[in-house]
Each structure stands twice: as C-alpha cells, then as structure tokens.
Amino acid sequence: MQGSPGGSGADAGAGGLIDCDVHNTVPRVEALFPYLPPHWVEHVRQSVFKGAGASYYPKNAPVAARPGSVPPDGPAGSSLALLREQVLDPLGVEVAILTCLYAIDSLHNPEAAAAFASAVNDWQIAEWLDREPRLRASIVVPVQLPELAAREIDRVGDHPGFVQVLLPARSEHPYGSRLFHPLWAAIARRGLVAGIHFGGAPGNPPFPSGWPSYFFEEYAGMAQVFQSQLASIVSEGVLDLFPTTRIALIEGGFTWLPAFMWRFDKEWRNLRQLVPWVKRAPSAYLREHVRLTVQPLDAPPTTEDLLDTIAQLGSDELLLFATDYPHRHAADPLQAFLPHLPAALARKIRGENARALYGLPRPA
C-alpha cells in the first residue's frame, strides 16, 4: 500500500460520495395498492395473504435498525424524510443506490410474484425516484421465475432511475445455471448491474450442509453463499455468454475474496477442461466483472490486516462505499473505514468505483 492515509470523512469535495446500499422498505401492503391490479388488491383485502415479507433481518435485531430510523408510521427504512435527514444530507451523499428487500422470491404463486414485483417497482418510481434526484434504485424481480423476471426487467429497465436488478444471494438454483440465462440476457440487454444482496428466501437451506438453527449462524455464514454464486457464475459461463455483465455483491463482505480467488485459480489449472469456456483464470473474470460493498466490514483485528487483505484483492477498483442504512454496522460509516486507507484508494471507494460500475455521470 502506497500513499498516506487521508480518505477524509464527510468532505464532499474529495469526490462525490456514492452510497451503494440503502434500503427502502415497503411500509405495509396497502402502500402497494395503487400499483397492484384490482384483483390482487381484493385478494389481499379478503384473504390472509398480505404480500411478501419486507426484510431478511429479524425485527428488533440490534443490526436491523439504527437508532432513530424507525418512523412513527412504518418500519425502519420506509421514510424518505428520515433517509435524507440521517444519510443523504449529513454525509453529503451525491447518489445513493436503493436496495429494496421486498421478498418476492418467497412468493410461490407466480402471478402474485410478478404482480407484486411490478407494484414494488412502480412504488419505487413514484415514492422514491420521482421525489429525490439523489436516488437510484434496484429492480425487484421474481427471480425464481427467470422468464417473468426478464419481462419485468424489460418493462422498467429503461427508466433512468433504475441502475440495477436485485438478486437475493440465496437462490433456488445457483445463478450460473442455464435456467437463469433469460434473466442474465435481460440484465445485459438493459445495461443494468446485477446486485447480489445478502439474504433470500428461496425455500432451501442457506447452507449446503442443511439448515442452521440460529440467525447468528446464517448471518455469519452468508459469505459461503456469495462464494458459491461466484463459483457458479464464472464456471457456468455467464460472463462468457454475457460479457458486459457487471455484478455488485452487496452486504457480503470482501475479506474472503482473496482466499477464494487463490483456490478458484488453482483448481482451474487442473480442471478447466470441464469448463473450456472459462478461458482465463477465474480471478481475472472476478476482477473484471465483480464489485463488492464494504459494509458490513469483516473487521480484521488490526488496520494492517485490513490493508493486507485489500492488497490481496489485487485491484483498487473492487470496493464500493455503502452505509447499509437503516441497518447499523458502524456509528459513523465514513469514519469507520476510509480514513485508514491511502487517499487514492479511499477516493475510489468513496465514489469513483461506483460511478464506473453504475455508469453515473461525473459531477458537473
């Protein structure tokens, strides 16, 4: 690591700050009524079905909501006013990328999944994007039904506020599977980023070895889910078939990536005959196509350990600043991490890497 520490705090002059993980929460199912077809409104009114869950974080878990982020009339993350007050204004955020965790993937009725995904996206346009120019958003899709997901991406993908398609890290099949080719094709067609986010409710266990018993296990063990998705996406040729694909791993940590790349490259040298479309070392694909948000940070014991790990990533273009609002990981997300880094690297993480990833314009 060269250069002096100096990634400064809330200093917007150091290059626009881009927050790559801000959650907007559907406050209650009625909020979607204006955007749902009438028969689904009726169904929700008359039955016990009230749409999907809104978050993979257990309510009231200490990390689930930072103090003061719960508005009087809804759950944490449901208030644009609070988002402005707690993140956009005090940190001087130039652009924040919304990641709405409405769990469409938990809906097993395909028509419901498609209708609620469309409603959430139209709600995001009307209630968030149209009201706050600093926001961009992620398209919510019925990922378990790739054809329907592709249709939704085509429906709203050209809206200039949407920069990403949200894919839950836990999925029914690994994302490299050919079942998902229609989804990847749509993402590529619309020039969007595939944002793979912590969590998911596909119905199968979060560990390949079976069901964990405690949220703690699942939360701490999620890195392996991200690893398996990367192994699948690279090995099954998604990045060869759709070479413009850009992937953001959100809330998955990054300290596991160097070791994973070592292993992945090593095995490629003797097993690549099985996947001959994988033409380069897997780490070369990952460094070209994959970016990762920094929050929550895996907090190595010392700053030196952290800097070593970042050096082992082998690129200063991989990391993206994120607060993960309203989830709480650090009292002051700007001070928790960036000041320890060399200034040039801090600048890239603050905004330049995200600007490149999401194709955001340079500040005027």
Binding site: T244, N270, R272, E288, A356, P361
Partner: protein, 201 residues
C-alpha cells in the same frame, strides 16, 4: 549441442511415448501422428513427472456448452496436479507465456547416416553401434551452464535434473500467476442513457 540417440523410430508408434534418461535428464519422447517431440519430464509447477501423465485432445469453447474438440492426444496433463501442456510447444494452458516445460529438438535419422557421422565424429554425437536399417530418433541437448555433464553419455545415471534442480525450484511457485494488473470495465459497459438522470445541481 550434443545429440543423443534415444530410440528407434518404430519403437514409439503414433500416440505413444518413451521416457528416456539422457545426460542426467529424464525426457519424454512423443509421437504425434508421425511427428516426434521431446519434453523434459519435470513439470515447471512443482517438478512432477510431467511426461508420465495422460494425454487428451484440446478442449475449447467460446460460450457454455459450445465445446470444440481438436488435436486429439496432443495435450499432456501432468501426472501430479493435472496442469495441461501442449506437447508441440511445451507451453502450459494456464499461463502459456510464463509457464512452459523445456522442449528439445528431435530428428529422425537413418542408421547409415549416423554411422557415417560417427566415423567422422560429429561433435557430441554418441557412438553406435548402429544398424543400417532402422531409423533412429536423435534428441539435441544443449550443454548445461557450468557443467560438462551433457557430454557424458546417453544414460549417465545421475538421476533427474542434477544441476537444474535449483533453477526449477526457484521457478516453482513464482511461476504461478503473479497478480494481474487491475482490469478495467469494458468501455461499452459504461455507455448508458442515464446521463439525463443527473446528480443534483
């Protein structure tokens, strides 16, 4: 340049191989469809007996599933960890520029020509007895730096490598891929119609 007779040509049929000890080196001689190639039987990865590995065809694909199979039998996989090497060039598949195995020139020569050359001794050519009839495979080996062992006979019994060992050791892991330069997003991935949706003024 010393020349060593290592086999008769019909000893190694197409698709076959023979591992020989020459000038203190173990060398694999391969017949690919009537053409002969010789490679050092020491893998540049960790020194495994490369030439004892299985051979395969070359598998390539542009996109998933579109497998193109070519050059049957021309790709050698190391007996230890399975890394692939092109028998024709000695280059590895995983890092063809950095990681290669030493290859040697092989020529096919009639016995009477060799006998004539031995009479008017060509430098380094090991003496017969030659028979006039069969054709022989002759491997050319440059003398090792700081050593005259190369001239010491076709089966010197010095074991594998000798003085080369250190050099290969040093290559060992450092021959594994070094950190690639950071790659940039493809330009075309940036092009976006999103500039109309600009940041706040």
């Amino acid at each position: 340049m010393a020349r060593y007779i290592v086999a008769t040509a019909d000893e190694i049929p197409p698709g076959g191989r023979k591992i020989v000890e020459v000038a203190g080196r173990s060398i694999g001689v391969f017949n690919l469809g009537g053409e002969f190639f010789a490679l050092r039987n020491r893998c540049p990865h960790q020194g495994g007996p490369l030439c004892e590995g299985k051979t395969f065809g070359l598998l390539q694909a542009r996109v998933p599933g579109a497998i193109e199979y070519s050059r049957p039998g021309e790709i050698l996989t190391c007996a230890w960890h399975g890394w692939e090497f092109d028998i024709r060039t000695g280059r590895s598949w995983c890092a063809p520029e950095r990681l290669r195995v030493r290859r040697y020139e092989v020529s096919v020569e009639p016995g009477d020509a060799l006998a004539a050359a031995a009479d008017a001794p060509a430098p380094g050519l090991v003496r017969g007895p030659y028979q006039a009839e069969p054709r022989y495979l002759v491997v050319e080996i440059a003398p090792e730096r700081g050593s005259n062992r190369a001239a010491s006979g076709a089966t010197s019994g010095h074991g594998r490598g000798g003085g080369r060992r250190g050099a290969f050791r040093r290559r060992g892991w450092s021959a594994a891929p070094t950190r690639p330069r950071p790659t940039r997003w493809r330009r075309r991935a940036y092009s976006s119609s999103r500039s109309s949706y600009g940041p706040p003024r």
